[in-house]
């Protein structure tokens, strides 16, 4: 049934697949970059369509709605400025006390805004692509967050785009701490294929005192994510490995399925 051209095609494709899968990581990444550039015209097209749609939406928005929104934003801005003033006082006090104790001063976060331009086309990974690349100073492993909380880390960088491995992806593990009296620490790992807002926190102590609603923050262990970035809240917990450890389910603060703008922490 199989003829000579069939054997040749089969052999060629198998050979090509084996060769490409065994390419060195650097070459493979460059090849991915080159192939990804095919989509550049479509990026431009999609962006201009979105901008036109947004402009059309802006044009038909009633003036009364804009004024109401402006008033609400002004009130929120005043409130935030007051909170900032209070926080700055606390920061100054904190720095002074740290200096007196001889502790290292806190580093300020340097963040850069980015737009989410593409989502993972396959269903078994959880990544997005953003419009910041190596020319903007982005490097692999830089943390990515939103005002609500942690989102993930940079997993690959090209000149103009970067891939972000989101929380719950097998390649994004985060050392985390629960905000409870015993300050239990664990590792945020993967999640189910359909859970976009819930991740599992494993490696918790078997005596961990976990209650639903407790806050989960980055612990700073591991060296990738700095300390005290909000991740989410504990949903529930269960005993694992015949009672040797505890695993908790954590509801993420950031809505990963509706990401549009994110912040990249440039110098963690």
């Amino acid at each position: 049934m199989l003829k000579r051209p069939h054997y040749i095609a089969l052999g060629l494709i198998v050979f090509l697949t084996v060769v490409i899968l065994n390419l060195p990581a650097k070459t493979s990444a460059r090849l991915k970059l080159g192939l990804g550039s095919v989509f550049v015209p479509l990026f431009g097209l999609a962006r201009s369509v979105q901008q036109t749609a947004a402009k059309t939406g802006d044009a038909v928005l009633p003036r009364s709605e804009l004024i109401r929104e402006k008033d609400a934003l002004r009130a929120q801005n005043d409130e935030l400025r007051l909170q900032l003033m209070q926080a700055e006082g606390m920061v100054r006090e904190n720095e002074r006390l740290r200096q007196q104790l001889g502790w290292q001063p806190h580093k300020n976060w340097k963040v850069k805004p980015a737009n989410v331009v593409l989502r993972e086309p396959s269903n078994w990974w959880r990544t997005v692509q953003i419009d910041l690349g190596s020319r903007d100073g982005v490097k692999v492993n830089f943390p990515v967050l939103t005002p609500e909380g942690l989102v993930g880390r940079i997993s690959a960088v090209s000149l103009t785009r970067s891939q972000v491995a989101l929380l719950g992806d097998p390649s994004c593990k985060v050392a985390a701490r629960v905000d409870n009296p015993s300050r239990d620490t664990g590792v945020i790992g993967g999640s189910g294929p359909l859970d976009t807002g819930i991740v599992e926190m494993g490696y918790l102590s078997r005596t961990a005192d976990l209650k639903p609603g407790q806050d989960v923050w980055t612990s700073g262990l591991g060296g990738i994510f700095p300390k005290d970035i909000f991740i989410g809240k504990v949903l529930d917990s269960r005993s694992e490995d015949y009672g040797m450890s505890t695993t908790a389910r954590v509801k993420l603060a950031a809505n990963l399925s509706a990401l549009e703008e994110v912040w990249v922490m440039m110098e963690p």
Binding site: H6, A9, F39, L42, P121, R126, G168
Partner: protein, 182 residues
């Protein structure tokens, strides 16, 4: 016009991959993104030559992997396997029938993701799988079943619009005309 068909298929692959990465309406609705490459492969295997199947498997697979966290090249072999099998049996398939197109769409929609997952597990890359993967496979299969006949209609329309219809020979021959005299 096989070269034109190849170009149509490749352009469709580029647009399909971009659509999967840029538009998330279906993902928001059912939690799963539909893959359009398997139904496109059904069309390529039934309407094109073996070179079209190879071209789509390599081009589409590599483009898909370039926007994904997949290892580069992992999608090529599953796409080709599905296209190759359909191409081998194409003479026995009623390719113009929407039922046959839908059935093959179901088979391709289930076959490609399962083979890709098996390959990923074989090379030691642990993807996110669980009971929810069954739901993903159901949606991918249904999506492919719906998309396959649509691709056939779309390409038929494109061929009609952009390619000259072949000149049909009539049975009339001037030298065999019966001339009636008085």
């Amino acid at each position: 016009m096989s070269w034109l068909n190849n170009i149509f298929v490749l352009v469709a692959a580029v647009v399909a991959v971009f659509w999967e990465a840029a538009f998330n309406g279906v993902r928001h609705l059912v939690g799963v993104q539909i893959d359009l490459l398997p139904p496109l492969m059904v069309y390529a295997a039934l309407s094109g030559s073996l070179s079209t199947v190879c071209l789509l498997a390599c081009g589409g697979g590599l483009l898909f992997d370039s926007l994904s966290a997949n290892p580069l090249g992992i999608t090529v072999l599953p796409l080709f396997a599905v296209g190759f099998v359909i191409h081998l049996w194409r003479d026995l398939i009623l390719r113009d029938q929407p039922f046959a197109q839908t059935t093959l769409g179901v088979a391709a929609g289930a076959g490609v993701p399962v083979l890709t997952l098996l390959l990923l597990l074989t090379i030691g890359r642990g993807p996110r799988i669980g009971w929810g993967t069954l739901w993903q496979l159901v949606v991918l299969t249904l999506g492919s079943a719906v998309a396959a006949p649509i691709f056939f209609l779309l390409f038929e329309w494109l061929q009609k619009t952009l390619v000259h219809a072949p000149k049909v020979e009539t049975s009339f021959r001037p030298d065999r005309e019966i001339r009636r005299g008085r």
